[in-house]
């Protein structure tokens, strides 16, 4: 039983050897760039361009990190990204869960139309929205604000779609019993449905946060000061133009700092990521 899947490809010794060779190649190709980023960020200046390249630094140092935080408002960008990520996630989770409940479990006129319109936006290139969004927010003086970076992003339909599927799996009898007991619909939603679907809520929270953390194009348009600029937009200013002369160790240190929160998040909660993608295939 346990070993069933091995029959599929790696039965023979030759097949298994080939599989392991391929796995090593894949690990090298996908892992090397990330490792290179880490290694370079702790190299002293003299070693960055060593030929042949060195994978283990002779004299590791954190000076690139010092230079990074000294020369650029990294802490401000980092804080902005964290605030935007947390607020977007909280708002998205709240409105998505509320919306998914009736879509998953109630019969009402307009349900099919609403679901059709909401989920059709999966096919929408969001870049189309940015001109009118910018003009609209600009007319209310809301460009370059935390509002413009959080609230519009919460209209994304990914969480509604995912939670609708999770909510549908909860047995009907539980709801009938809860409502008979005078729990009410909101009571059922709050005290029974949400606790039973924690994995789904976790998946939506993680995806929303990572998408927000990595979001690039909209913050590039909607911010124009370091007071609101998020990490992806701030980091993009390090390259091109003035940044061309920037030491690679400093650039790689910026890459490590930017990746660390989401990488740790991912390593700790890997199965939620996998479930989220497998269920919908929507990136972010």
């Amino acid at each position: 039983m346990q070993d069933q899947r091995s029959n599929r490809a790696g039965k023979s010794l030759g097949g298994r050897t080939l599989a392991y060779v391929l796995m090593i190649v894949v690990t090298a190709l996908w892992g090397a760039p990330i490792l290179w980023m880490l290694v370079t960020s702790i190299k002293p200046e003299s070693e960055i361009y060593a030929y042949p390249p060195t994978w283990i630094p002779d004299a590791p140092t954190l000076e690139a990190y010092g230079a990074l935080f000294q020369r650029f408002p990294m802490l401000t960008w980092f804080r902005n990204s964290a605030v935007v990520g947390i607020l977007t996630t909280a708002l998205t989770l709240a409105v998505d869960a509320l919306a998914a409940y009736p879509l998953a479990r109630m019969q009402f006129p307009g349900r099919r139309v609403i679901m059709g319109v909401i989920f059709a936006t999966f096919l929408l290139p969001y870049e189309l929205l940015f001109v009118p969004l910018f003009l609209g927010l600009n007319s209310y003086g809301l460009v370059d604000s935390i509002f413009s970076l959080t609230v519009p992003a919460s209209a994304n339909a990914f969480g509604v779609f995912l939670l609708t599927q999770f909510f549908q799996a909860v047995p009907r009898e539980l709801e009938d019993a809860a409502i008979m007991d005078g729990c009410g619909r909101f009571g059922f939603f709050w005290r029974i449905l949400l606790p039973l679907t924690k994995p789904g809520l976790a998946t939506v929270a993680i995806f929303t946060f990572v998408a927000s953390w990595n979001n690039f194009f909209w913050p590039l348009i909607a911010t124009n000061s370091d007071e609101t600029r998020t990490l992806p937009v701030g980091l993009a200013t390090l390259v091109g133009g003035a940044g061309m002369s920037m030491k690679q160790s400093v650039l790689m240190a910026s890459a490590v700092v930017a990746t660390l929160p989401t990488a740790l998040f991912f390593l700790a909660l890997q199965r939620h990521f996998v479930r989220g993608i497998a269920a919908t295939g929507i990136k972010g």
Binding site: Q4, R5, S6, N7, R8, A9, G10, A19, Y20, M23, V26, L29, W30, P33, I34, W36, M37, P53, A94, V95, D96, A99, P102, M106, F108, V117, T121, L123, L124, P125, E127, L128, L129, F130, V131, P132, L135, G136, N138, A155, A157, V160, R185, V210, W213, N214, F216, L231, P232, V239, G240, L251, A255, T259, A263, F265, F266, L267, F273, K283
Partner: protein, 285 residues
């Protein structure tokens, strides 16, 4: 009872619907509307019919952007689907170490696009980049990847495949795990070899996943922007200048909202067209 349920349903729905209408539905309609108007940030909007569309299709830069973006989709679509499936099949086996390799392949997913661009911008550097270093060790002359208009787009494609093929891999992995073992075992008993089992069992059962992966890959391909913006700024010689960068340039640097909205509508139509064609194709196979 029934109207009570309707009221409750809409109460639960209303916060999300308000956000959806304000920030998704209305902007979509507004984008289409603005594409038929003259709208500089200052002056009053004015209806001008198809003039914006005439303007962008008369602009060689927009035509270059369409051509470049199509080239990017062409370079990424097939490798992203084939490699995604190959990785999934390799890592679906019950062998020691597959979980680790899956984690390594998935890790780039959480790296933000600016970081991907900064990292690969250096890896592809002609003189000091790792890519050329390892290519020269096997006897290939150094290539000026990001400075040569012939190689800049392939370099962006390679970067993108490294960054996002993991999404396709995960979708395929989930689909592979739904295929029952008995089918494979029965086919093996009937004398089917690995290749026959792949063609007659695995592939047909993977059709829904294949459709999803292909559609996502193509739509996301047409939306490419961040990598090009950070790694090459659209150059050299506009060889990586893509549609979304045209929208960005037109709207937020030249402040011509009408033509920018028109370019956005063209992007929408292209992705819809490709999704429809792809759906038709999948049905036909």
């Amino acid at each position: 009872m029934r109207s009570g349920m309707t009221l409750a349903a809409y109460l639960f729905l209303s916060p999300y619907l308000a956000l959806f209408i304000a920030f998704m539905l209305l902007p979509t309609l507004a984008a289409i509307g603005i594409s038929f108007m003259r709208w500089d940030i200052l002056g009053a909007p004015e209806f001008i019919g198809l003039d914006n569309y005439r303007q962008i299709f008369g602009d060689p830069l927009f035509l270059t952007a369409i051509k470049n973006t199509f080239y990017f989709v062409f370079l990424t679509a097939i490798p992203m689907v084939v490699l995604g499936l190959a990785l999934a099949m390799l890592l679906d086996q019950k062998l020691k170490g597959t979980a680790f390799v899956r984690t390594v392949v998935f890790l780039p997913y959480v790296v933000m696009v600016s970081t991907v661009g900064i990292l690969w911008g250096w890896l592809f550097d002609k003189g000091t980049g790792l890519v050329n270093y390892y290519l020269t060790t096997i006897g290939i002359e150094p290539i000026a990847w990001l400075k040569d208009p012939h190689w800049s787009m392939p370099a962006l494609a390679i970067t993108t495949i490294w960054w996002t093929v993991n999404t396709n891999m995960i979708i395929f992995l989930a689909a592979l795990q739904d295929i029952s073992e008995e089918l494979h075992d029965a086919a093996t008993l009937d004398g089917a070899g690995p290749w026959q089992r792949f063609v007659y069992i695995t592939l047909p059962l993977l059709r829904p996943a294949m459709a999803l992966v292909t559609a996502l890959t193509i739509i996301n391909g047409w939306r490419v922007f961040g990598q090009a913006y950070v790694m090459t700024q659209g150059g050299p010689e506009a060889s990586t200048f893509v549609i979304v960068q045209y929208i960005y340039l037109t709207a937020f640097q030249n402040f011509e909202m009408g033509p920018a909205a028109a370019a956005g509508v063209v992007l929408l139509l292209i992705t819809l067209l490709f999704s429809l064609a792809q759906m038709k194709l999948m049905k036909a196979i």
